[in-house]
């Protein structure tokens, strides 16, 4: 039997969560106060978990690296959040959202988790509205919806192009209320640098105060990581600059299995790269594909401006290849199609790495005002960055790294294989399989934090009363000493290259060799180059300043050091998964017309990696995926 026990409850799919909640252990109100919970992260997942657990009576400590919990990266989500409300009466249901998510994930997610997510989705909208989240409304006062990729119903709720901001502010306001009541202690500008394990259980963390440099330890009855995704391993991504893998990777080194690290999502509609000084990529929300049409010139090396290219010489390649989903084909498929067009030499813009997203037709149909009302702020961002007015000329877009489906392995209770370590939001691997559908990350983060963890945490905690160690325990002292030693080592190298230069080099390497398309050859090359880059880093990086001060160079160095190890794990996972599925496209495994070719016989499983030491190959464990409610089929969006 596999060492991974997903603890999926028995019984029919629709009854699993209800039954599990009933069977889950409750903790009596007087005892809740005796438990302390550490939460790393204040994004949608972390803030909603902190607020909900505190409301139940647990004592919570919440950590984030920004100066305010409200600045967590969730704030940047634009397009919307899905929920199976069927307010539009267009045939949506819990089962349809479940089905779309399983299919969108290319049959690499757990049925039970996804069904629960779809069930909870409706409660999330209720909760957010009660908090005052100003979702878009129709004239009659009802909530408005739009559609997103991979779905043929309108189930996405939104607040202009700032849905993540408004949802996070809702969670942040609830968190604030609990901070004011004294139930949550908030630690902004504090970075978690290690996990402390006592007798096999996660019981605390080591942190660095980013203003004073003070290294500290905190003990708790359990630890919840909600530290977001690892897209910045590619250096250029749509993630915020501070997003990192440090919290989850260090937990991995302490025993937590890392699941499916090779599943990364490349978003089809981002602003193309303009130069090597570029520090990040900007997403243009997928919601634009509701009204924008994606095309490229039919001719190679086309030099005319878009307006002068006649209709007959344009290739609306998504509409052509996927007539039933058209411009709303899922992200992995849309991104790959854009790449193919550019590989054929039909890309636009100076670099040839871009395709058009054109609003001319919808402006004609709807009027500029309606388009402005729907997407005004996105058009503004586009103009600020590129200097182009997208009401007049089509946007130029290109795929960019956006989201990571992989993450720490968790069971149905969202607990990792390390007892007492829970993982929520983008940091876990649980619900999106090999490809996430648009507007589903916000849904998952809030489902995990508001509704799942409050019900499941008791299953672990009931057995833990009075077992919280003190920070004087030798394991805490050791972890703290390790963190200090690592910091001194980084500061002592005083080499000749900046931290960023290593990060850029790693990012480029990952993009070229483990990006939108991968092959055995490219991955082997990455696997031979990453260790030497890492070695050079530890010999030649220049981290300026000292520890006992605010030191952004040191902060980055710690994160890049982790990316340099993690990148290797990603490539290894990509190499071992000898199939194409969702965001993981192996060139050797494709259908004659270039679509991803899954291998369900051998790979209908989760790969979860165990760390076995600095110089030894990690061990690959598997959890088989059972499909009892949807038929394993080749995805078709045609």
């Amino acid at each position: 039997m596999s060492v991974l026990d997903s603890k999926i409850p028995a019984g029919p799919l629709e009854k699993k969560w209800e039954k599990h909640k009933f069977e889950s252990k409750l903790i009596n109100p007087a005892n809740k106060r005796k438990y302390e919970v550490i939460i790393v992260g204040s994004g949608l997942a972390g803030a909603s978990a902190a607020a909900s657990l505190a409301e139940l009576g647990f004592k919570v400590k919440c950590f984030c690296y920004q100066d305010s919990p409200r600045r967590a990266h969730s704030i940047a989500a634009q397009g919307g959040i899905n929920a199976a409300k069927n307010y539009q009466n267009d045939g949506d249901s819990v089962f349809r959202l479940f089905y779309d998510t399983i299919k969108g994930g290319d049959f690499r997610a757990r049925e039970a988790n996804v069904y629960r997510l779809a069930e909870i989705s409706a409660n999330i909208i209720d909760q957010c509205v009660a908090q005052g989240v100003p979702f878009a409304r129709e004239y009659g006062g009802l909530l408005a919806n739009r559609s997103f990729g991979g779905a043929q119903v309108s189930r996405t709720f939104y607040a202009r192009g700032q849905t993540g901001q408004q949802l996070l502010l809702g969670a942040y306001s609830s968190l604030n209320r609990q901070i004011a009541l004294g139930n949550v202690e908030m630690f902004p500008r504090t970075e978690m640098l290690d996990l402390v394990i006592v007798d096999g259980h996660a019981k605390g963390i080591v942190t660095r105060d980013m203003v004073t440099g003070a290294v500290q330890t905190y003990a708790a009855d359990c630890v919840v990581l909600a530290s977001g995704g690892y897209g910045n391993v590619f250096y250029l991504s749509t993630n915020a600059k501070g997003c990192n893998v440090t919290a989850t990777y260090r937990a991995h080194k302490k025993g937590a299995f890392f699941a499916n690290p090779c599943y990364t999502q490349i978003h089809p509609t981002c602003i193309p790269v303009s130069g090597d000084y570029q520090s990040k990529l900007t997403l243009m929300s997928e919601s634009l594909r509701n009204d924008g049409r994606v095309w490229a010139p039919k001719n190679k090396g086309e030099k005319r401006p878009p307006q002068q290219i006649p209709e007959a010489e344009r290739d609306y390649f998504l509409e052509r290849k996927y007539p039933s989903f058209g411009n709303l084909a899922p992200r992995d498929i849309s991104s790959r199609s854009a790449k193919q067009v550019c590989d054929e030499g039909r890309g636009v813009g100076e670099s040839g790495l871009g395709v058009y997203l054109d609003f001319e037709e919808s402006i004609k149909r709807l009027g500029e005002n309606t388009v402005r009302e729907r997407y005004g702020n996105l058009f503004e961002i586009y103009e600020q960055i590129t200097g182009d007015d997208a009401y007049k000329t089509p946007m130029r877009i290109f795929p960019a790294v956006h989201y990571t489906m992989g993450g720490l392995w968790v069971d149905y209770d969202l607990m990792s294989n390390v007892p007492g370590l829970f993982v929520l939001g983008e940091a876990n691997f649980s619900d999106h399989g090999a490809n996430r559908l648009g507007a589903s990350a916000l849904m998952q983060g809030l489902a995990d934090g508001y509704f799942v963890i409050p019900s499941t945490i008791g299953n672990y905690l009931t057995h833990q009363l009075g077992k919280r160690p003190s920070v004087d325990h030798p394991e805490f002292k050791k972890a703290e000493a390790d963190v200090r030693a690592r910091t001194s080592r980084l500061l002592g190298i005083k080499g000749r290259r900046t931290v960023d230069s290593f990060h850029r080099e790693l990012g480029l390497l990952m993009w070229d060799l483990c990006g939108m398309a991968r092959s055995e050859k490219s991955l082997q090359r990455a696997l031979s180059r990453i260790p030497s880059l890492r070695e050079e880093f530890w010999q030649n990086v220049n981290v300026t300043g000292g520890n006992e001060e605010l030191n952004q160079s040191l902060e980055k160095a710690g994160r890049v050091a982790d990316f340099l190890e993690f990148g290797e794990l990603m490539c290894l996972d990509a190499l071992e998964r000898k199939e194409s599925c969702g965001g993981h496209f192996r060139e050797e495994f494709q259908t004659p017309d270039g679509e991803a070719l899954r291998n369900d016989q051998e790979f209908a499983h989760v790969a979860a990696w165990e760390y076995t030491g600095p110089n030894s190959k990690p061990v690959r464990h598997t959890e088989d995926l059972q499909f009892e409610n949807v038929h394993l089929a080749t995805r078709s969006y045609k």
Partner: protein, 249 residues
């Protein structure tokens, strides 16, 4: 392009700061202002000097972290956040002063980074609707006229960057507090706690050392989230009304 930079350097909250001159060379016009500072920092570190510290994260104009005063204007010459300001707004050879957001309530942490946690504390004092998880009714059972929802959204778009405070001669936080108050006051869900909310937030604002509004409207001019000055009007109506009701009870 090449630029002459005059940058505020300050080791920590306790020490004195000063303006230091730097040359930024070969800056592409398509680079953002923060990317220009990245280039400067790479050059400084190559010489073994410590990079200039500044707050930033999303670089998309939404997280509210970036916070530079550029040639005396919070977020600089275009009405965006600092991270959305592009070098094409500057001329070759230009001198640029770069300083932190200045306000009594925003002490400098290091160089260009300030401590804006006072704004978090104001929100903590009352900027929320008490809605226990698990007890919400169906979302469509609360009807909100589109006009009110749009008004709430317009106010809720605040990114808490603090430019309003930094640009105000009195370092007032009225635009910020007005935005919060207006967001919740525009929605039916916000009514039960409306009075208490405005009283507590205003009390906290005063405690934190923010000044009063004397109608300069600089805040509205620099706000990257386009929060309209009318939210201060809302605050000025709600606050006295709440005071009166409070004293009656």
């Amino acid at each position: 392009m090449n630029l002459k930079l005059k940058v505020w350097r300050q080791k920590n909250a306790q020490s004195e700061g000063k303006i230091v001159d730097y040359e930024a060379q070969n800056i592409p016009a398509d680079a953002s202002f923060l990317e220009m500072l990245d280039i400067l920092n790479e050059q400084l570190q190559a010489k073994g000097e410590e990079p200039v510290v500044f707050d930033h994260d999303c670089r998309e104009g939404i997280c509210g972290a970036c916070s530079l005063t550029i040639n005396g204007i919070a977020h600089g010459p275009s009405a965006t956040t600092t991270c959305q300001l592009y070098m094409r707004h500057f001329k070759d050879g230009q001198t640029i002063f770069i300083e932190p957001f200045r306000a009594r309530a925003f002490p400098v942490v290091r160089d260009l980074m300030v401590n804006r946690s006072a704004l978090d504390r104001i929100q903590r004092a009352g900027g929320f609707i008490t809605a226990r998880v698990g007890s919400a009714q169906d979302a469509n059972s609360i009807l909100v006229p589109k006009k009110d929802a749009d008004r709430a959204m317009e106010a809720a778009a605040c990114i808490q960057c603090g430019a309003c405070v930094a640009s105000c001669p009195n370092a007032s936080a009225m635009l910020f507090v007005g935005a919060k108050v207006t967001h919740f006051a525009s929605l039916p869900q916000g009514q039960p706690e409306r009075q208490q909310r405005v009283l507590q937030m205003v009390r906290k604002m005063d405690e934190e050392g923010f000044g009063n509004c004397s109608n300069h409207y600089e805040c509205e001019a620099v706000c990257p989230a386009n929060i309209p000055i009318s939210v201060i009007g809302q605050l000025n109506r709600d606050y006295p009304a709440a005071l009166v009701k409070d004293s009656v009870v």
